[in-house]
């Protein structure tokens, strides 16, 4: 019995603690790859010892201590391969450092350092995402490769190259200084949001959502907010992710077909997530200075989430929020969503004028939702031929199977 119980429990502990243990080991041994090797060996040792001896009272401290000693062993074995000076510096750091792993006050500088290192702008964005999933979330290289729809070897190589760059180019392992913190935090939030959107609305493939990635993003958001509770942008992003994720189960039928907000069964929405998200939105909007774009997007999602029926949606408020968003971070996609909201307040003709003006600017060429939105407005205006033509144009651009099926259905209905 002990064995079975421990195997599942051990797995849970690893997933929960891998990022923190790795983060602390990197600080102690001063080397990303050496720390990873130490962690690997500590995990192997745990799998051997814990089923017999039972789970230690502080598994994180156990893993850090064992990982640290394994790293020292490795250094000794590799003695000839490292220059002497660097080796001595690392050994001294490992020996002298008091291991602080039993702090449970929520403050964990190591994990922050690790997040900011993985999200360093000298690595390209996809590499930042991959490294964050691997190192902070503790996903296996196989799982990260799946997330990117690439082969394991390709991903392994990309991760090795990223770690080599961190070491060779000396990307600092630290929380950025105050004058750079805002900008670097923005980068880290963009990484987390990319993980979320790839889980919530994959750009390719057969599935409409990939819950595992969204869950990782939410976990990262919570982790970051716990470390830096005074940053409203983090609360805004976490709120946005929770409010979108709350609708996950209602967004697709059992067959994987897309269900529009309008037709979603609101009983399937996760009320717990909505409540948590809505509370965070208020916190995010309250902060000093202008609200973040995430906070305003989250506020829009909250207005939708709080409407009991689609018809009860507070559209004027949504239009107003989109106008704020257009000022904060103007983009053609935001303008398109704004137009769709305008159609609910001022009717489809006014919205169509906005969409046509947007189409004339040609920034959204290739984006299937532009012709799809046009098609819907034309349909509501009774201009069926033009609507059909627009649906066909949207079909040519859509890449996700469920979206294609939905567009084809709409076209057939006309």
């Amino acid at each position: 019995m002990a064995d079975e119980l421990t195997a599942a429990a051990v797995e849970r502990v690893f997933r929960a603690e891998a990022g923190r243990v790795l983060a602390t080991l990197i600080r102690l041994v001063g080397d990303f790859e050496l720390a990873e090797e130490g962690l690997q060996e500590a995990v192997t040792a745990a799998l051997r010892q814990w089923p017999d001896d039972g789970m230690p009272s502080n598994p994180r401290a156990w893993l850090v201590n064992v990982g640290r000693h394994k790293a020292i062993d490795r250094l000794r074995r590799r003695r000839m391969m490292l220059d002497r000076q660097r080796e001595l510096a690392i050994m001294a750091a490992i020996e002298s450092e008091a291991v602080q792993t039993d702090r449970d006050d929520g403050l964990d500088d190591d994990i922050l350092r690790l997040i900011f290192t993985c999200c360093h702008p000298a690595l390209n964005r996809d590499t930042q995402v991959a490294l964050t999933l691997r190192a902070v979330c503790g996903l296996s290289t196989e799982a990260v490769a799946r997330a990117f729809l690439v082969g394991v070897d390709t991903m392994a190589q990309r991760l090795v190259r990223a770690k080599a760059k961190i070491r060779i180019a000396k990307i600092p392992y630290e929380t950025p200084p105050p004058e750079r913190l805002g900008e670097r935090l923005e980068g880290a939030l963009a990484v987390i949001y990319q993980v979320f959107t790839e889980g919530y609305a994959p750009t390719e493939g057969p599935q409409l959502t990939r819950a595992d990635l969204s869950a990782e993003a939410i976990r990262l958001g919570r982790l970051l907010l716990a470390q830096m509770p005074e940053r409203p942008a983090i609360a805004g992003l976490l709120a946005l992710m929770l409010l979108h994720d709350a609708r996950r189960d209602a967004r697709a039928t059992a067959e994987g077909d897309l269900v529009l907000l309008e037709h979603q069964d609101r009983g399937l929405w996760d009320r717990g997530r909505i409540a948590e998200g809505a509370a965070l939105v208020e916190r995010a909007l309250r902060g000093p200075g202008l609200p973040s774009a995430y906070a305003v997007q989250a506020a829009i999602a909250a207005v939708h989430a709080e409407a009991e029926r689609f018809e009860a949606t507070d559209w004027p408020q949504i239009v107003g929020l989109y106008e704020v968003l257009l000022r904060l971070s103007p983009s053609p996609v935001v303008a398109l969503n704004h137009a769709a909201a305008v159609s609910m307040v001022d009717g489809p003709q006014k919205a169509l004028n906005l969409v046509d003006a947007l189409a004339a600017r040609e920034e959204l060429g290739g984006y299937h939702l532009l012709p799809a939105t046009r098609a819907d407005l034309l349909r509501r205006l009774g201009r069926r031929d033009e609507a059909r033509e627009a649906y066909r144009a949207a079909l040519e651009l859509a890449r996700l199977a469920p979206e294609r099926r939905w567009l084809a259905r709409r076209l057939a209905e006309l």
Partner: protein
């Protein structure tokens, strides 16, 4: 007059060579370096880490942008170089961002290969 000599080579091919070939080339480099030191031509020179460790820094509208990888735009040509000592990539990038060239063009930050 001083001239900067820039060495271009295919990293993938270089990495794929047999050790004996690599050793032979290192020998040639050592002999060349000794030769130009003795002839009084040598002013300085370093081997660089591979381009995968490079970071490119640009400043546009006062905003610093850093991207992974070497500078790859063929519209611009190499115009000069500085060798700097910095504690880490952030410090080196901050210096690069102050270089006028980061406003008018791009600056590639590449770590020097440590010779022991």
């Amino acid at each position: 007059m001083q001239y900067l000599l820039l060495i271009y080579q295919n990293e993938a091919e270089m990495a794929a060579r047999a050790k004996s070939e690599a050793d032979a080339m290192h020998g040639e480099y050592a002999a060349f370096t000794q030769g130009i030191i003795q002839s009084g031509h040598f002013k300085g020179g370093e081997r660089l880490q591979p381009s995968t460790t490079a970071t490119t820094v640009r400043v546009r509208g006062g905003k610093v942008s850093t991207t992974d990888g070497p500078f790859a735009e063929t519209r611009e040509q190499l115009a000069g170089y500085y060798m700097v000592e910095a504690k880490d990539l952030d410090e080196a990038s901050a210096i690069a961002a102050k270089l006028p060239g980061s406003k008018y063009g791009s600056v590639e930050v590449r770590p020097v290969w440590p010779m022991s």
